[in-house]
């Protein structure tokens, strides 16, 4: 195509590109709309630094489990046991650290391995014995709920050693203290923003060098400016309270890792292919059983990590910990655009889905809406999100 026609088509190109990717942005815009909505209904409480920090702390364990759940759902399975497993691991951690006075670091390692082993056990039945994941993890849900009670002897165990509490309540220490403003947080935030934009830009240059840049310039720059505003703004808010929570760093690192694995590695590609058509994938020489097994191991480890974070946050392990988490986690993935049939879904979608749920929880609580109506509204939002997704998918055909 000649230069002239390419330029004269520039305008419709932008429209066409936006249309083709509207679903990618729709989710993020929904989150933004929900946040702005609650910013007004809560009289500006939502965006207050202390509240933003709270939202991160309250939802970190859901986000972390949603990462693993996304892999499971993309692979065409489901895991109902993650809530019970995280509760059980929290209980085990309490017994190890509080009752047996074991080293917190060692305990954390053992708990993560135990979580991976639990995931592996469930994955073994799903992958190698073809028992539907729904059944296997339903059994797991009951088993680990019961075991959590047994381990704790029906009582709450706490408090945890201080080092362990830092996992949830700690913040990255401020190196250059300037009054109430956490400079370290701002510096880290700025660095991360710079790195993200650098990688985006490099990818763009690479695409252009091979004539593959689909995204119109306007959209590319606009997108990156928005990313910068969001990240810097967020860092600024964090800096005005206590800085960056440790959990945020863990969560952010995991999100980055999972985005990378799903989009850039052979393993990620194979998971999507397996969810899209297991028979064809198997016939292409891919060990689908091993892959399924591995995904459940990862999910188990993440559920364990979530359980530890939750226990550290409450500073006590209770038999009720983890109750119903699996529902929030699964809902986050589906709100984020994952398909029940497998093969479709994005890590970022699941993360945004988790925060949509989290912001709604937080906003409605501040507004004083009762837990009963919160459930009703959350259910309706889940239904609406999936309905719109399916509706527009069918319409696109």
């Amino acid at each position: 195509m000649s230069e002239i026609t390419a330029q004269s088509e520039a305008k419709p190109d932008i429209l066409r590109f936006v249309k083709a990717h509207i679903r990618d942005y729709a989710l993020l815009l929904s989150l933004l709309a929900i946040m702005i909505f609650f910013q007004f209904t809560t009289n500006g409480t939502l965006f207050m630094p202390v509240n933003m920090t709270n939202i991160i702390l309250q939802n970190s364990y859901i986000v972390i489990m949603a990462l693993g759940m996304l892999l499971i759902i993309v692979a065409g399975h489901i895991d109902l046991s993650v809530g019970s497993v995280s509760g059980f691991i929290g209980a085990v951690a309490a017994v190890m650290m509080v009752s047996w006075k074991l080293d917190p670091f060692l305990s954390v390692i053992v708990c993560l391995l135990l979580g991976a082993a639990i995931g592996g056990l469930q994955g073994f039945f799903v992958a190698y014995h073809k028992i539907p994941a729904f059944i296997v993890t339903l059994a797991g849900m009951l088993i680990f709920k019961g075991l959590a009670l047994t381990v704790l002897g029906g009582a709450s165990v706490g408090p945890f050693p201080r080092e362990f509490q830092l996992l949830s309540s700690g913040f990255i220490p401020d190196l250059f203290s300037v009054g109430l403003f956490n400079v370290t947080a701002m510096v880290i935030g700025t660095l991360v923003t710079a790195i993200i934009i650098y990688f985006n830009y490099r990818k763009r240059l690479n695409q252009q060098a091979h004539g593959l840049a689909e995204e119109p310039d306007v959209i590319f720059y606009g997108r990156n400016i928005l990313i910068a505003i969001a990240f810097l703004g967020f860092s600024f808010l964090m800096a005005r309270y206590k800085g960056l929570p440790n959990v945020l760093i863990v969560m952010f690192a995991l999100i980055a890792l999972f985005v990378f694995v799903t989009t850039n590695t052979t393993m990620g590609r194979r998971i999507y292919a397996m969810g899209g058509n297991e028979k064809a994938t198997k016939l292409s020489g891919i060990d689908t059983e091993k892959l399924t097994f591995l995904i459940f191991v990862i999910m188990g480890a993440l559920a364990a990590l979530a359980g530890l974070i939750f226990a550290a946050r409450l500073n006590v392990a209770t038999p009720k910990a983890g109750l119903g988490f699996e529902l929030d986690v699964i809902a986050a993935c589906f709100i984020g655009g994952a398909a029940t049939t497998g093969g479709v879904g994005k890590v970022i979608g699941a993360v945004i889905g988790a925060f949509i749920m989290g912001v709604m929880n937080n906003g409605m609580s501040i507004m004083g809406i009762g837990i009963d109506w919160q459930q009703v509204i959350k259910g309706a939002v889940l239904m609406l999100a999936v309905f719109l997704d399916v509706y527009y998918k069918n319409k696109a055909r």
């Binding site: 028979k279 064809a280 292409s284 020489g285 479709v344």
Partner: protein, 515 residues
Amino acid sequence: MRALTEPILEMRGITKTFPGVNALTDVNLAILPAEIHAVVGENGAGKSTLMKVLSGVYPHGTYDGEIMFEGASRKFTTISDSETAGIIIIHQELALVPLLSIAENIFLGHETAKRGVIDWFEALRRAAELLKKVGLKEHPNTLITDLGTGKQQLVEIAKALNKKVKLLILDEPTSSLNETDSNKLLSLLQELKAHGISSILITHKLNEVMKVADRITILRDGRTVDTLDTSTAKVSEDRIIKAMVGRELTDRYPPRAAKIGETILEVKDWNVFHPLHADRHLIRNVSFSARKGEVVGIAGLMGAGRTEFAMSLFGRAYGQKISGEVTIHGKKADVSTIPKAMAAGLAYVTEDRKTYGLVLIDHIKHNVTLANLDGVASKGVIDDLKELKVANKYRKDLAIRCSGVYQTTVNLSGGNQQKVVLSKWLFSGPDVLILDEPTRGIDVGAKYEIYAIINALAEAGKAIVVISSEMPELLGISDRIYVMNEGRFVAEMPTKEASQERIMRAIMNSWEKPR
């Protein structure tokens, strides 16, 4: 005497087109009252399509022509329309619910019920009556899954009788029956005839046709070629075979100068059993070889076991209790898993590209590299640009027509989907490429392109194995042809000496005698 009788069914000038294909062209079929009428033809001749037009699967309006049944013009739009009229079709794959009883199956959808409450006493009584008519000595409460295929066929017929059948259509009813059960079924058809019920028998087994058919209609390439009356003239099997295959080979195949080298793949005494029924011996002592630069064809009717053979060879993707020896490049090869088979140099391009070939929701680029992701990755990280180059190379080499390599494969035409699957396997770098029905559901132009690709691959020194139900295709592209029937290789011939008659004869002569 019969000539004076009015036909019970007349299909006149039936033409049915699918996008790009004329499945039926001006087909005429007349069935007389109380006759057994055989419809024969090669795979793809249009027999099944014709029956689907008749039974309303393809509703009135989607085809041209007229259907007269019992003297009136009929416009069936659903299967239940034709069933109400008394035309009942029994498909090759039986439509019974395995975990329900005989009685429940017979009355499914027509329950002996009052206000939704089933009268079991009446149901069992009538079921027993019907079973007696078809000669099945089983209690009506027996579950379908506990019956053999032959008895299941009888249940299907009992079900048809319950619906007051006037014209019974049987699609390959004896293909999975042994001789005894086949004979039983055929004599039942003759009994029904005595009661005034006509049947259309679709079959490949010409000996059965000779035995029971009053008249024979032969289809070829979607046209009626001939209708023979066995009562007025002596009809020979030869006569039928000639009419079935008598088609001129034109230059539908690209020319090729074969340069055949040493043997690459050799299989000895290959045996495979059914994946679920361990006692069903599907592939029996097959020995087979393919040489460098050679295109080897495997001919056979549907259900001969060709796909099962190929898939069992490819990393035991099918079957159980597999035994036999595989040699590749003169060395014993381990092909016990798909990755091992691929490492040994095998590739299998499936006959069912939608189920086994493509991730339909994904785009061309991802599908092309799926079988060899390590070829575009280092240490498990995919090099996006390298992958893109690979996809674009195959897009160009195989002339995949698409808006770009990011087009979702579900939106491609059959021919282009096939090229994507081919690309995937070419990128895996095989020495032996097994192509299972590579041109099924593809229009003529795309077929030619696929043949040209096959030629180019053979020239590049690969051994190509082509499984096809279209005999002209095998004769047109292969160097050597194996003929398979009932799980065995029943003939092998250089293509120079092969003909459709010879292949068909090899199949017809090989049907297993009663055990």
